[in-house]
């Protein structure tokens, strides 16, 4: 059957089980938008800015494990995607972006809305394509989805000139094997590495597992749990690893790193063996590399060989799929209780508990940590939370424990403000039967708040919690600690968020004291469709503990034990 390029795109998307596209039309992609009318099985969500489309595709991908798809026109449409693509790359999120390009004859002529999109996105995609021949289109799309979802997942962009969308050819779906000689993600560990790694694990007196996003992407939760429980090895999570190991589990240490729990960071620094699984020793996780876990041997398992020995020199580096590799390790792991080690960690945890702000008496002010912990309580810890970037994000990581994978969605690597709202919308579309909360700061929210219109148009049932302190709080925190309290360019003069919601016909509520939090959750849950809660919180709050950038991981700034200490 002869089909146009545009129809081939839609046919291929159908075969990739794509049920939703996040996009924005424009001249160079119009043939494809026209072809969409013949494919009602694929729903199109009209965003208000292409960055939103990329973040929605990303949120959808992280909540479902499927590939998210964003579509945009040439030039500005495509360049607006870039922040979203870079976000997906840093967090290994599988998305495919389809962009229109000017006609082939016009490429290179500085035509209207022409940008070298494959050039612009080259460093922020896992791979990208410019399809110059309609004959190559179907195969390219298939390859793109394969690359996006396999190995270390990531964003793939396909740039398609307008006349390639219009040209027609005999359509035959290339359902044979994908031949990519230079792309063979590693799967399993070799026997020698398995022996060496298990030997180290069995000898260790003070082991810690560092579990990252890879656990979730490889669906290795059960395997991780078996490994941890069999030898009583405590598990520290990265920000993106949250959900990979139940935080209510006695062996959970919570989050590691710059704003990680103090007990967790001390355990890492004192350990004699780090077992790093699907994480990449980011600088926010290690602090000063020269003093990072200096007495520990290190085993690192990651599907991306270029991550091994990148930041931290390891004793055993295994490139492979985590689920497979942990299964290879398990039979040789000897039971152990590590009771002395666990006891030391319990003492550190006790100290942290005493400092915890949750137990602090508050007069009349609402504290962000309490809001988030109450959200956890009243949503039974069972919601999907999608955060933005900043203090509220770190507080979410500390005060909203997650028990299952794909329930905590956040921009970890790139730290993209404006991610929260659109990503939450994408997540909700992906898993409509789950409760989704966008937890955002007043700063980040305003970077993409125009997507409220999309939420209304699509009636996306998300609850938006604005943790509103009238400041760019995390920057303010750095100014307080490291710039002698010169709060330049961090106070925010905000609109009335409830009135703003009203303009979009979104039900809203303002919360100024802790007693109202429960009611606000009930209110948000009672409404089918988007709701917005403006939590007006203490302006001068600080996220503790904090490892200053580049400092030793064990040298954290801790919250004073009582409020009077602080003054």
């Amino acid at each position: 059957m002869k089909l146009t390029g545009a129809e081939i795109i839609m046919e291929c998307l159908l075969r990739e089980n794509v049920d939703v596209l996040f996009g924005y039309p424009g001249g160079a992609i119009l043939p494809t938008y026209d072809a969409m009318t013949k494919y009602p099985q694929i729903h199109h969500v009209l965003v208000r800015h292409e960055q939103g489309a990329a973040h929605m595709a990303d949120g959808y991908a992280r909540a479902t494990g499927k590939v998210g798809v964003a579509i945009a026109t040439s030039g500005p449409g495509a360049t607006n995607l870039v922040t979203g693509i870079a976000t997906a790359l840093m967090d290994s999120s599988p998305i495919v972006c389809i962009t229109g390009q000017v006609g082939r004859a016009a490429i290179g002529s500085d035509a209207f809305q022409e940008t070298d999109v494959t050039g612009v996105t080259l460093p922020v995609t896992k791979h990208n394509y410019l399809v110059m021949d309609v004959e190559e289109l179907a195969y390219t799309i298939r390859e793109a989805f394969h690359i996006a979802r396999t190995g270390r997942p990531g964003p793939v962009l396909i740039d398609i000139p307008k006349d390639v969308q219009i040209a027609s050819t005999e359509f035959m779906y290339p359902d044979g094997e994908i031949i990519l000689p230079g792309y063979q993600p590693p799967l399993e560990a070799n026997a020698d590495d398995v022996d060496a790694a298990t030997k180290l694990i069995n000898q260790a007196k003070r082991p810690v597992i560092l579990a990252g996003h890879g656990i979730i992407m490889s669906s290795a939760m059960q395997e991780l749990r078996e490994l941890s429980e069999r030898a009583n090895i405590p598990v520290a999570l990265t920000l993106l690893g949250k959900g990979g190991f139940p935080e209510s589990h006695p062996l959970s240490l919570g989050m590691m790193g710059m704003h990680g729990s103090a007990a967790c960071n001390w355990a890492i620094q004192e350990s004699d063996l780090l077992i790093a699984l699907g994480m990449r020793f980011d600088d926010r996780v290690t602090g000063n590399l020269d003093t990072y876990a200096i007495n520990a041997k290190k085993i690192h398992v990651d599907i991306d060989p270029s991550e091994l020995n990148k930041n931290v020199k390891v004793d055993i580096g295994i490139a492979g799929d985590l689920k497979t590799v942990i299964r290879q390790l398990l039979p040789q792991i000897q039971p152990s209780n590590h009771s002395e080690w666990i006891g030391r960690i319990r003492n550190w945890q006790e100290d942290a508990n005493q400092r915890d702000i949750i137990h602090a008496e508050t007069n009349s002010t609402l504290l962000a940590a309490q809001v988030i912990n109450d959200l956890w309580k009243y949503t039974d810890g069972n919601a999907i939370t999608v955060t933005d970037v900043g203090q509220h994000q770190m507080l979410e990581a500390q005060y909203y424990p997650h028990e299952r994978p794909q329930t905590m969605i956040t921009s970890g690597g790139l730290g993209t403000m404006g991610f929260g709202l659109p990503a939450a919308m994408g997540a909700k579309i992906g898993v409509p039967d789950q409760e989704v909360w966008a937890i955002v700061g007043d700063g980040g929210f305003q970077m993409t708040l125009f997507e409220l219109a999309t939420a209304v148009q699509e009636n996306i049932d998300i609850n938006i919690a604005i943790i509103n302190n009238g400041f760019l709080g995390m920057v303010r925190q750095w100014q307080e600690f490291f710039y002698e309290e010169r709060y330049h360019a961090t106070p925010m003069h905000n609109p009335d968020f409830c009135k703003l919601a009203e303009a979009y016909s979104i039900p809203s509520m303002r919360v100024t004291n802790r007693e109202q939090v429960e009611e606000s959750v009930k209110f948000a849950r009672s409404i089918k469709g988007p709701t917005l809660i403006d939590y007006v919180v203490e302006k001068h709050d600080i996220v503790y503990p904090m490892v200053p950038a580049g400092a030793d991981l064990h040298n954290m700034i801790l919250r004073p034990t009582t409020q009077t200490d602080e003054e």
């Binding site: 494959t118 050039g119 080259l122 460093p123 896992k126 791979h127 410019l130 110059m132 021949d133 004959e135 190559e136 195969y139 690359i147 031949i179 990519l180 000689p181 230079g182 792309y183 991306d304 060989p305 270029s306 091994l308 020995n309 990148k310």
Partner: protein
């Protein structure tokens, strides 16, 4: 600058002969802050497969890190560090020297006899010499020629191959070449 002597490493990469591959490799080196000494690329005996020889100064980045990152590129089929083991490496230079008197002509002829070099063009004012040799031999001849007067020079950069039966090849042929695309032939 450090007093330490720089360590050069030679990497070979088999790549799919597709548009933008050179750009992808160059972009990788730039964004990972790896230093390239020389990079050459050319066809192989397999349609659709090109081969790069990349010489890096690994004082700033571990050569294995570079190789791992190169291999991560989808269009890179295989990567090997050649300088780990015995290998043959060659650099080609075209050097234009001033030969406007008998002394200089004699000197050039003598130098060419001492090196794997030959005169490929000569006129009343200048001559073009061609040398193909290991990089240090090329350097040495250039130094010899300096006093005579080099007026123009171009070097190809290093191409290298492992010695013996270590064969770096691929069975791969582009699936797209089978359906008649890449009509424009060679692009990197």
């Amino acid at each position: 600058m450090s007093e330490q002597e720089s360590t050069k490493h030679t990497i070979m990469a088999l790549v799919e002969n597709k548009p933008g591959v050179l750009n992808r490799v160059a972009s990788l080196f730039r964004r990972r802050n790896f230093n390239v000494d020389s990079l050459t690329v050319g066809r192989t005996h397999r349609p659709g497969v090109s081969r790069m020889t990349i010489v890096v100064d690994s004082q700033r980045a571990d050569v294995r890190k570079i190789a791992n990152n190169l291999y991560k590129l989808v269009n890179v089929i295989d990567v090997k560090i050649l300088s780990d083991k015995p290998h043959v490496s060659r650099d080609l230079a075209l050097i234009k020297v001033r030969t406007n008197n008998a002394d200089s002509r004699n000197a050039v002829t003598t130098i060419c006899e001492r090196y794997p070099a030959r005169i490929v063009d000569i006129g009343t004012e200048v001559a073009i010499l061609e040398i193909t040799a290991q990089e240090d031999v090329v350097e040495e001849m250039i130094n010899q020629l300096q006093p005579i007067g080099i007026v123009e020079m171009i070097r190809t950069g290093i191409v290298a191959m492992g010695r013996g039966v270590r064969i770096h090849d691929t069975e791969y042929e582009s699936p797209l070449s089978a359906i008649g695309s890449h009509k424009n032939g060679y692009h990197v």
